[in-house]
């Protein structure tokens, strides 16, 4: 792959074919699903409905972008669901009744940063398995959330947060703007900043990265901090969308965020993936789940389809990668 410059330049169709092979599974999936939707449920492609879908997808989209950093760095963040739950409990706590909205928002974001930092420190300093560490912190964070809420989450969410979660500017949902901003930010980190290269290098081959002098530990730490922060931001928007405190919010976001990342073309085990792929993956997942609702498929069916989609995407991508 590296000596591409010495080989004769391939013809244009072949180049296009090769570029298309690089597209994440979500791209083809999205096209297929949208064509299917156009024939069976044409209202899916109307502008108002797309806006509703965007608003609904934004929290997951942001959480999944954070997850992309962890996965690309050969790690995993299973604590995103617990962070969402904690953020939801924090911003709806009676403590913040009457306080300016910036206060609960900052507390929530700092909580996300703190959990991400804790994950990162435990994973790098103790060299413990990321799966187990984030499962452990998820359990701790869930417990802390329960303790703060006393088992009965508050209902005192500021209108600003509700606006962030469900408001619109003209027709465009505010939360989708946040999604767009975080996606651009992630794209810049992955493609333009040195941090992105470090993440990819450390994810692809950790020992090679270490021998080349890449600060592998600090990179991994930052990946988890980013994941924690993005999870908190996603949790904030989701809380605004729901509008009330609720125990156990976001539990399904762990699976969904990983699904979106895998569909976006990240190979589990690191070294691939990116912002665009994850955005496409989130869209595909959201469209599939909504189509299923339209066709009257219940939660059980959605669980099965989600699992099948993850397995299929992972297996297909792994096979095509092994062939190369």
């Amino acid at each position: 792959m590296s000596d591409a410059s010495t080989r004769p330049k391939p013809s244009f169709p072949r180049q296009l074919l090769r570029a298309m092979k690089e597209f994440p599974p979500a791209f083809w999936g999205l096209i297929a699903v949208l064509i299917f939707a156009a024939f069976t449920q044409p209202q899916f492609l109307s502008l108002p409905f797309i806006m509703i879908l965007l608003r609904q997808a934004a929290p997951l989209g942001i959480v999944a972008l954070g997850q992309t950093f962890a996965v690309a760095n050969r790690s995993l963040d299973l604590s995103v669901g617990a962070v969402i739950a904690l953020v939801n409990i924090l911003v709806s706590d009676r403590l913040f009744l009457g306080a300016p909205a910036i206060l609960p928002i900052s507390v929530a974001l700092v909580a996300g940063l703190a959990v991400g930092l804790l994950n990162g420190v435990l994973i790098t300093a103790l060299r413990a398995s990321a799966v187990v560490v984030t499962l452990g912190t998820a359990s701790v964070v869930t417990g802390v959330g329960f303790l703060i809420s006393g088992g009965a989450p508050g209902n005192a969410m500021s209108d600003t947060i509700k606006f962030l979660g469900r408001g619109r500017i003209d027709m465009f949902p505010v939360s989708a703007i946040f999604w767009l901003v975080t996606a651009v930010l992630s794209y810049i980190i992955f493609r333009k900043l040195i941090l992105g290269r470090f993440i990819m290098a450390a994810g692809d081959n950790p020992s090679a990265a270490r021998y080349s002098g890449i600060p592998v530990k600090q990179t991994l730490l930052l990946s988890h901090v980013l994941s924690g922060f993005f999870a908190a931001l996603g949790g904030l928007l989701l809380s605004g969308l729901i509008g009330v405190g609720s125990l156990g919010l976001g539990a399904d976001y762990v699976l969904s965020s990983i699904a979106a990342v895998i569909l976006g073309g990240a190979i589990f085990g690191g070294g691939a993936g990116g912002a665009v792929g994850t955005v496409l993956g989130t869209m595909l997942l959201t469209v599939i789940l909504n189509l299923m609702t339209v066709f009257g498929i219940d939660e059980a069916g959605k669980l099965m389809v989600q699992g099948l989609v993850i397995a299929a995407a992972a297996i297909i991508y792994q096979k095509s990668n092994a062939a190369r």
């Binding site: 187990v132 701790v140 869930t142 417990g143 950790p206 699976l255 589990f268 690191g270 699992g307 992972a314």
Partner: protein, 326 residues
Amino acid sequence: MSDTSQRPSFGGLTARFRLDARLYRQRGAALSALTFTIIFVVLAVSLPENFLTGRNFSNLLGQLPPLVIASLGQTFVLLGAGFDLSVGSVISLTSAILALDLHWSMTIPLALLAAVIVGLVNGWGVVKTGVHPIIMTLATSSIVQGLALTLLPVPGGVAPPPLVAMVQGDILGIPFGFFWVLAVGGIAIHLMHATRFGAHLYAVGANSDSARLSGLPDARIRIGTYVISATCAAIAGLYLTARLASSDPNVGSALGLDSVLGAALGGTLLSGGIGGPIGTFFGVGIIGLLNNGMNLAGISPFYQHVVKGTMLIISVSLFRRKELGL
């Protein structure tokens, strides 16, 4: 291929090395046995009138078997450097299958068959296609949980009477659950420490590539661990359903994580090749004692999440790994 134990030893060196290797693999078990003893003594001293009662012990012995059995299965997968997140869902699926409108002589084999299929799919996905075990088992976990909820949307149904008779009851004050653990644990220890499969599993878990290059059936062994794990989960599901006397499609949801916790607390490394079923007994025992102690001391269940998470982190931090990340 000859049995390794039949090889001549070179001046006792091989035997010596083998003993050392065996002790090295079990070092975690000793530590968790010590922790178990300390917690036991602390509870016995601080809560004598609640903890040291026959009723509490028979309660504990009735409660713990599903987790012990599921954890033993998880131990095999972890030793082969794998990871099985689908344990909880398989337990739930077993419970849901038992509620089907069929005779128990059909549902019980059906539940076990379903588990074997899940194990084979997990193993195939991980070993043959190279998907990461966490992703593969997360996906199957989701599918299996969906299946369980489709078969049985809400808790209900009557557990098979013969199964209930095999679970609820005791001999001389010892609950039947103890004998379930004895049976499954005996098979697990035998498999791990007295068969060729067990010896090969340690080799595969320590270094899959060199094991394969040495001619071990690496793929078959690793797929086998997933089948064992799923079968153990199904047995845990049978027990749990009979203990509750009715089915619940979400009954296993908490046990998936706890099965990893039990094995990890028992000194089995998540990177494979180190640990074993003996430690798992103590690991699950620690979880059981801590839950029991916190309940008896009247500590809010909310704290139990915090304690469980902290224990999980501590248990995996005890032995440093070389790898960073996953």
